[in-house]
Symmetry: C2
Subunit: 277 residues, 2 copies
């Protein structure tokens, strides 16, 4: 790469860091890349750090010493996330989203890349200290969210299938009961998808009683893997049965009336819990 | 936002532009945002433009005049994409990837956010001029690719389901025959997911004879929607039957032997077609 002046370096380093969250980048990488002195690189990083912090993009951690370097930790400030989620709540309250059975139509919302990316960033902020090795979800609507979270945490994503697909090789299947419908279903995960002892962050789009999440936890047990955290985008509180206790939700349906097409959606427990999970 | 010096502006504008591909941003937006003169903003943009170009990040289109502004078009240079795809081909040729039935295990690869993002960028480069309104895929493994493509094209993603899910509302279903297995299957898409006349970019992870892609095309016809392009990550040429002609592939299996566990994977037609689709 050609020698760059400070102005060019700042542009290049910004994109380089944004593309590599949670990765330790030695200062020598930048120094070699731009044919610049480490002292200049340090000054560049100080400028980037300040802007990232002021803009709520996240933290630039700099580590001194021979093994040192810089690491970009995406982190959305909670107040900023709250504003974003409140807007989504208002969108979810639109009457035409209510479907038979108390379901809520949100495929449009979960199909917008900017929205999905922002949700992923919030999850990545919530779980950034959980030392997860992998993000897991079950098909279908949770996949974009899990993927977006994986992008910001720099973690691979594994997808649990509702059937056993021929393209996964040998797989482990479990039966689970969806808490709200009481229907027995099957989910499976390819044997090669998860290493023994892996710490797994479970992400899903929707949770009512938690049967599907519980199913994923049971599946993890089969792999001798651990739960590093559970994040659901939207939870519904229209059931008394709760199979899962320890989870973080970003939004919550507190009331839904299929007849009058009225729903109340409020920010989830991430914003109301004061204990700071 | 506080007033920023050039160095701070360059960092901020870089992240702002990267986050908003294919969006026209008026210069006044930046001028107001940083309390800076438009002439300074133009100089900043010239610096960013040069780095983006040199680094193969894409093009910064600047439009003069009252309705003018700047637009970031992500575009991966073809030689750079070829190097990336060649590495993936070598990875796919690993013997332990070959599954019964001539399938290839690639969930690990399609679970790595950086890889998926790069594939999405290649697709976005291929189809950037196709004026698509939406990216469409069918569950499951194509979803991360469609989403990553949507990120770089700034387009919403719609997911065709293999069953009819209660959370989509009313849906249109079609039957299709998978060309290779000759099995009849169903796919469906929620009525609200696609507007009449929409131009749709179809993205999928794998294509053999093209039955699934053809199914999606048939579904589009039901919505009076148009095909803006078809992109498949990996095609297999172990069949003589071809239901779909006009598509772009990034990689291609030219030979697979389940017994000896040998596969040959080469770059797809995007790299071999000289006509420059």
């Amino acid at each position: 790469m050609k020698k760059l002046k400070r102005s060019g370096r700042l542009v290049e380093m910004t994109q380089y860091l944004l593309k590599r969250p949670h990765s330790l980048i030695p200062l020598t990488t930048f120094a070699d890349r731009y044919h610049s002195a480490k002292s200049s690189i340090s000054e560049d990083l100080a400028i980037i750090k300040e802007v990232f912090q002021d803009e709520g993009l996240g933290e630039l951690q700099t580590m001194a010493g021979a093994a040192g370097g810089v690491r970009y930790i995406p982190r959305a400030p909670k107040e900023q996330s709250l504003g974003f989620i409140q807007e989504i709540c208002r969108e979810l309250e639109q009457p035409d989203r209510i479907l038979p059975g108390g379901y809520m139509f949100m495929s449009d919302l979960l199909g917008r890349p900017a929205t999905v990316s922002e949700i992923g960033k919030v999850f990545a902020s919530v779980f950034s200290e959980r030392q997860a090795d992998v993000v897991m979800t079950v098909e279908t609507k949770g996949i974009p969210l899990a993927y977006a979270t994986g992008v910001y945490l720099n973690l691979p994503v594994v997808i649990v299938r509702r059937d056993h697909s021929a393209t996964e090789g040998s797989a482990v299947s479990i039966n689970y009961v969806s808490g709200s419908t009481k229907r027995m279903s099957t989910m499976s995960l390819g044997r090669r998808s998860l290493k023994e002892g892996a710490r797994v962050l479970i992400i899903d789009d929707f949770m009512r009683a938690g049967g599907t999440i519980q199913g994923m936890m049971d599946l993890l047990a089969e792999f001798q893997a651990e739960v590093a955290g559970v994040g659901v985008f939207l939870e519904s509180s229209d059931t008394d049965e709760h199979l899962v206790d320890d989870y973080v939700s970003l939004a919550q349906i507190t009331g839904i009336d299929a007849r009058s097409k009225q729903a109340t959606v409020i920010p989830g427990n991430y914003f109301t819990n004061t204990e700071g999970r």
